[in-house]
Structures are given as structure tokens and as C-alpha cells.
């Protein structure tokens, strides 16, 4: 057993242990902390299997922003803990669910141990067109070129999720700002919220820019920018914006709107919807990625902020 394999075995065991802790922990807060740790360990696993783009996304979104949302929720739901602990599912349901889960796991384990031979891959097919698109990162090419409609529809999914969260506000708060007004107090949080965002913005823009040739891209860069914004909002240095503000709505739609516009012009100047004209592929892809980053950052930040809880001013 080589050192690498021992490291991988240790990492896999640690991931499983933290996952079991997340399910079994009594207090919701402890479970969420376990979940954030699980997400960061998963990011390491992704690096070990050579999927660095995914590792960045998992660390930023899967563990980072999701963790922020879940921790805030666990803190607010603490009063219900004692009552909810009294609700226990019936023994029959636990046994049935346990059997079902064990069966599914066993089936998947068998499929993992005896995979199909040879392993299919679309890597070669993806590599063929990279030169024509002048893009060095195949994952970016898949997201913005080959399977661009999935990315486009997923933007609409994000917008609808945001509108769904907003729809939970009572009518009188519509158009107002999410969360309660916080005042910045001196302390570690405020210090970090002052120091980190300039650094984070630079890193986010860099991750976006380098995504064309190396791991990175719109999702990862946007998530880092959103994380900085969330930090500033939580520390109270900047108030969350009102959801009816023009600039908020503009930034929300600029990504999908430009993406749609590029898609429709493909009918005229190229091979159809979401097709890139030869020679102009790279600038168009970069332009789409930049606006997508802005939209993703704003959507992720507002999803974390929640529905409006204050009345609209004026």
C-alpha cells in the first residue's frame, strides 16, 4: 500500500466519519458544523481525483455559502430543538429506511467494484474542439459552449429560487431589505470583514479570469465574490440592499440576458442557437462569463440574505 493510497483511504474514512456525525449529532448546530467540515474534506477529495474546478465550487458554494445559510438557520431554530427532539420516527420506518439505504449502498458498491470496461469518456471529443474555441479549460468549454443550454436553464433555476425565497415575505415587506439592520461592533468579525473582502475580490476576479485556461470560471469566481459580500453583510458593515432597487434587478438579469442575447445572435451569425461564430468564440465566452459572475455573485448573496424583513423606504 503506497503512501498515496494510505492518504486516500484516510481521507475517505474521515469523510465518512464526519458524515455519520452529521446525521447522528443531537444538536442541529453541531450537525451543521460537521456538514461544513464534510464539505471542505470533500473539496480535498475532489482535488485528489483531479477535478479542481469542482473542488473550487464545492469549497465555495457547497461548503461555504451553504454552510453560512445552514448555520444562520440552526441558530434561529434553536428554540425548537427541545420540542423537536421529542419527535422520534417509528421503529418500523427506521428499519425499512435502513434496509432500503443499505440495499442502495450495496448496489452502488458492487457497480463501483465492477465497472464497465473500457471506461467511456467524452474527454477526447471535448478536446477536439478546444483549439477552435481557443479555450484551454475543457470544463469551461463544456459549461459555456458544448452544453451551454444547461447553464442557461440553470441560471433561470437560480432566479426562480431567489424569487421563491422573496415570495415568503409578508406583503407589507415586499420591496424592502432582507434581514434586520445590524450595527457593526468591534471584534474579530468586523476586523475580518474589513481585511478579507479586498483580497477576496481580487482572488475572485482572478479565478474568473483564469477559468478560460485553468481551473476556475464564472461559478467559482462568483461564489467567492458572494462570500465576501455575505461576510460584509453579516458583520454589519454594509446593509443588505432593498430587493426592489434598480441596480439589484439589473445585476440579477444581466447574466442571463446577455447569455440569451448571445444565444439568439447565434441564429444569425453562426450555426444556430448558442453557437459561437468562428474566430469570435473566445471573446464572447469571456464576456458571457463576466456577466454570469456578476449575476451569480448577486444571486448567491441574496439567497443567503433571505426574504425581505423590513418595509420599503419611500
Amino acid at each position: 500500500m503506497t503512501v498515496d493510497l494510505a492518504l486516500d483511504a484516510g481521507l475517505a474514512a474521515l469523510v465518512l466519519a464526519v458524515a455519520v456525525w452529521t446525521i447522528a449529532a443531537r444538536a442541529a448546530f453541531a450537525a451543521v458544523v460537521g456538514f461544513v467540515t464534510y464539505g471542505l474534506l470533500l473539496a480535498l477529495v475532489w482535488v485528489r481525483i483531479a477535478a479542481v474546478d469542482v473542488a473550487l465550487t464545492e469549497a465555495a458554494i457547497g461548503s461555504g455559502v451553504t454552510g453560512a445559510v445552514l448555520i444562520a438557520a440552526a441558530a434561529r431554530l434553536r428554540p425548537t430543538e427541545t420540542l423537536s427532539a421529542a419527535e422520534r420516527p417509528g421503529r418500523g420506518l427506521r428499519i425499512a429506511a435502513g434496509v432500503l439505504s443499505a440495499l442502495v449502498s450495496a448496489g452502488l458498491a458492487v457497480l463501483v467494484l465492477y465497472p464497465s470496461n473500457p471506461a467511456p469518456s467524452l474527454g477526447p471529443a471535448a478536446a477536439v474542439h478546444l483549439a477552435a474555441l481557443d479555450i484551454g479549460n475543457p470544463v469551461t468549454a463544456v459549461l459555456i459552449a458544448y452544453r451551454a443550454v444547461d447553464t442557461l436553464l440553470e441560471k433561470v433555476v437560480l432566479l426562480l429560487a431567489l424569487l421563491g425565497v422573496w415570495s415568503l415575505a409578508p406583503d407589507r415587506f415586499w420591496g424592502g431589505a432582507p434581514g434586520q439592520r445590524r450595527d457593526a461592533r468591534d471584534g474579530t468579525l468586523t476586523l475580518l470583514a474589513r481585511l478579507l473582502p479586498p483580497l477576496g475580490i481580487v482572488v475572485g476576479v482572478y479565478v474568473l479570469w483564469v477559468g478560460a485556461v485553468a481551473p476556475g470560471g464564472a461559478f467559482q469566481g462568483g461564489a467567492i465574490l458572494a462570500a465576501m459580500w455575505i461576510l460584509v453583510m453579516i458583520a454589519g458593515l454594509h446593509d443588505a440592499p432593498e430587493i426592489s432597487r434598480r441596480w439589484v434587478r439589473f445585476l440579477l438579469v444581466v447574466g442571463p440576458a446577455v447569455f440569451l442575447a448571445v444565444g439568439f445572435t447565434g441564429f444569425v451569425v453562426a450555426n444556430g442557437f448558442l453557437s459561437y461564430p468562428a474566430g469570435f468564440a473566445k471573446p464572447l465566452i469571456i464576456a458571457v462569463e463576466v456577466v454570469l459572475t456578476l449575476t451569480i455573485a448577486v444571486i448567491l448573496g441574496l439567497l443567503a440574505a433571505g426574504p425581505p424583513e423590513r418595509e420599503r423606504r419611500q
Binding site: V15, I23, L42, A51, L77, T80, L83, S84, V165
Partner: protein, 115 residues
């Protein structure tokens, strides 16, 4: 036994754990956590498949990686929507439960905060 197989078995176990937690735990907030574990296991399975599809010049097949990135973003928006629903339910009923006939929380003031 290669690294991919190890992580693949880990993914299979995560799927089972997440499925068990989603069905069994009665609190919606914990169901959301288990759903995220289940999602993580499924994504890791995609990752193993991507790694097995490594070719010259690429450490892993890019198509499953793109699907996982899309999936992570969708899972986050699902979590955000579900958490917002749970919090709103808590604000309206002072409880965060899906049992329709659960007794209200024994607090002094049972008035609807939005009345």
C-alpha cells in the same frame, strides 16, 4: 484497490447515509442536511466516473465535472429555498415541524406575528 475505487465506495456509503437521514429524521432542517449529504455522494460518484475517463491531456472527463458544478449550484438553491420555508414556518407557527397536528409551542404569546 485504486484511489478511485476507495472514493467510489465512500460515495456509495454517503448515498446510503444521506438517504437514511432524509427518510428518517423528522425535523425538516435535518432532512435538508441529509439531502445535501446524499447530493454530495451522488456528485462524488460522478467524479469517480470522470476520473475513470481520464485521457491524454486531461486528468478527468470534463462533461461529468460540468454536470457536478451545475448540480452543486442547484443543490445550494434548493437548500436556500428549503431553509427559507422552514424559517418562515417557524415564524408563523413557532414550530419547525411537518407534523400537521403537532401542538403549538407552549409560549406565553401565541399571536401570529403578522396579524
Amino acid at each position: 484497490m485504486t484511489a478511485e475505487t476507495l472514493y467510489g465506495l465512500c460515495a456509495a456509503a454517503l448515498v446510503g447515509l444521506g438517504l437514511f437521514g432524509s427518510i428518517v429524521d423528522p425535523q425538516p432542517a435535518r432532512k435538508i442536511l441529509s439531502f445535501n449529504l446524499l447530493g454530495g455522494g451522488v456528485f462524488l460518484l460522478f467524479g469517480i466516473i470522470a476520473r475513470r475517463g481520464a485521457t491524454a491531456g486531461m486528468g478527468a472527463d470534463p462533461v461529468p465535472q460540468a454536470m457536478v458544478i451545475t448540480g452543486i449550484v442547484v443543490a445550494f438553491s434548493a437548500t436556500a429555498l428549503a431553509v427559507a420555508l422552514v424559517l418562515r414556518l417557524f415564524e408563523t407557527t413557532e414550530r419547525a415541524t411537518l407534523q400537521p397536528d403537532a401542538p403549538p409551542r407552549p409560549s406565553g404569546d401565541g399571536a401570529d406575528p403578522d396579524a
